[in-house]
Amino acid sequence: MSALLKLSGLRKNFGPTEIIRGVDLEIEDGERHAIIGPNGAGKSTLFHLISGRYDVTAGHIHLREREITNRAPYEINRMGLARSFQVTNIFPKMTVFENILVGVLWEMGARYAFWRFVSRDKAVQARTAEILERTGMADRRDVPAGLLSYADQRALEIAITLGSNPDLIMLDEPTAGMSRSETQYAVDLIRDVSEQKTLIMVEHDMGVVFDLADRISVLVYGEVIATDTPARIRANQAVQEAYLGTMED
């Protein structure tokens, strides 16, 4: 297996405060990788650096050997990386169908076209319908996204992320704030959609992490203190100390 995503010597300062303090990490092609760590460890910041929302202070990010450090988010997305957000980030006034459709448009080559109708583009329509079906939102197709329940909005968040048919999917706390049954549904959905793809997710729910992840990285105060299989992470002394037993939750 080769590295799909490679972080080397990654640093991020906000003023004098160092949030990410030299992260080296390789994500392999086809794996499901979870990033865990206490609050304020810099997990979301790391996501923002990789996806282009923040510029890095130092270090490099490579996606399939191509440098993506400090590129614009839309350029990184076009290279095959798509992400979701911790706080639901959808298009509230547009319908569920339109939300997913907007995610599909660029990948299907529609770009900024203003000389043809969306409804006539069979490929776009089919792909949107497929994602709608796959994420279980077909019966809410014409509901304005802002009116959906919280769990449905989280599912829509993932559905939009899938639109660009990315090689690498990054999910930021996909099950945050969900009930137990909703979480189980979300785990099944994530397992299904990350089939044949590479997944990185930040997650607080250890049940979800150990259920889904092939490998886990532990981020503490801006540094990766361990990267390993779930079983070995559970047994790791340093991780135990950093978490003070909260891993058994």
Partner: protein, 420 residues
């Protein structure tokens, strides 16, 4: 079949209206107003491509309207001088191109940011071009503006475009083409992405789109149609003045679009028709016309942010559940409308008398309000209007809450029926 009717029905109706209106209203004044409506329907729809569809609030969109107008009138004069020849019927396309070129150039800079930054830059460019009209005299001719004569040879099918009716039909055809084209744009990938950049620009960046590109394109296309409208405006009046570029015209199109309703395609059309009409008929009748327009705008922003079209479309879900639910709202609505008219009558009476008292143009203390001659120095008219206003306000304290109470109850019942 039904789908075809729903899609093409409104357009057929619009075409019929445009064809038939001049036979119903054939006075010179009516034709002028109808032509004006056409021009501002195009301009408002173009403006709503930015505001309603793309979420960009511009305070200077008259630049593209006005400059295109100046270019058109110069072109007409060049044809008159036999320097070049160009058919009058296609001049709006040239106006559109002028708008497009300006929109591409200025939009590249101004659409880097949305929100306050964009609004400020649009205001800045508006002021810049207004200043230029008073400085670059060879092109803009200062406060006098530029005149032209749209009647030139050859005359296709004997149409000279001299009579107002012929210009009306030219404007009507272009209005139909332009609104149909702008409606079509809302159904394209660009249209969808434009809505997305309005709703959530940050998210759009992470699904492959440059928000700058999307806004830039929206701005350029909107400027094209604004320029097209500006060319028709120039043809209609055979004169372009500095005010067509300035903040007054920019404000007018904002008012039309917003009062009509930015949430639907029909809204700006409703706004343009209504305000063009009021502008033409009331501005001769009262000096306070812009005060009233401003008041209506403020009230719309505060109480009906979806505009007139929004007030109508909010009843659509109720219609779908059960038409009879609407009957319940009829009486409260009538009561609220009656009190509103009472308040308006009182307020308008007082405002008109104040305007008359402070006006330098008044010969004596007599003025005509609501077709009645009144003496502004007598106490009775003042007391009369104050009583109307007071009674209206008192009644409103009952009728307005009643409307919202019955509205809420009706919506709740509709929802219960829908789910149950």
């Amino acid at each position: 079949m039904t789908r075809g009717i729903r899609l093409f029905g409104p357009w057929a109706l619009l075409a019929l209206l445009m064809l038939g209106l001049p036979t119903l209203f054939d006075s010179s004044f009516a034709l002028t107003v109808l032509s004006l409506m056409g021009v501002f329907i195009i301009f408002s729809c173009a403006y709503n491509m930015l505001l309603g569809q793309g979420g960009l609030l511009s305070f200077g969109h008259a630049v593209y309207f006005g400059i295109a107008g100046y270019c058109t009138i110069h072109l007409i004069n060049a044809v008159e001088d036999e320097a070049i020849w160009f058919p009058l019927t296609l001049l709006p396309l040239i106006g559109g191109l002028v708008g497009l070129v300006l929109g591409v150039l200025i939009g590249f800079v101004s659409t880097r940011r949305a929100g306050t930054t964009f609004a400020m830059i649009s205001l800045g460019f508006g002021e810049l071009f207004t200043a230029m009209t008073l400085v670059l005299l060879t092109f803009f001719n200062g406060e006098d503006g530029v005149q032209g004569n749209r009647v030139y040879e050859p005359r296709p099918l004997g149409i000279s475009f001299g009579p107002e009716i012929e210009v009306y039909y030219l404007i009507a055809i272009w209005t139909f083409i332009a609104t149909a084209a702008m409606y079509a744009l809302t159904r394209t990938p660009f249209g969808r992405v434009s809505n997305a950049v309005r709703d959530n620009p940050e998210r759009l960046e992470f699904i492959g789109y440059s928000t700058h590109r999307v806004r830039w394109l929206a701005f350029a296309l909107s400027s094209f149609f604004a320029g097209l409208a500006g060319a028709l405006h120039a043809i209609n009046y055979e004169h372009v003045g500095f005010e067509t570029v300035g903040v007054q015209t920019s404000g007018l199109v904002l008012f039309m679009t917003y009062i009509g309703g930015i949430g639907s395609f029909l809204g700006p059309i409703v706004g343009a028709v209504l305000i063009s009409y009021l502008n033409a008929s009331l501005s001769d009748l009262t000096e306070a016309w812009f005060l009233y327009l401003g008041l209506v705008f403020v009230l719309t922003v505060m109480f009906a942010p979806a505009g007139l079209a929004g007030l109508i479309t909010m009843h659509e879900p109720l219609m779908r559940v059960d038409r009879s639910l609407l009957r319940r709202l009829a009486l409260p609505y009538l009561a609220a409308i009656a009190t509103t008219l009472l308040i308006a009558a009182g307020a308008i009476g007082l405002i008109e008398m104040v305007y008359h008292l402070t006006s330098d143009l008044a010969f004596d203390s007599k003025t005509t309000v609501f077709w009645i001659e009144l003496d502004t120095e007598a106490p009775w008219p003042w007391i009369g209007f104050a009583v109307l206003l007071g009674a209206g306000l008192l009644a409103a304290r009952r009728t307005y809450p009643q409307v919202s109470r019955i509205w809420d109850a009706t919506v709740a019942e509709a929802r219960a029926r829908l789910l149950g």
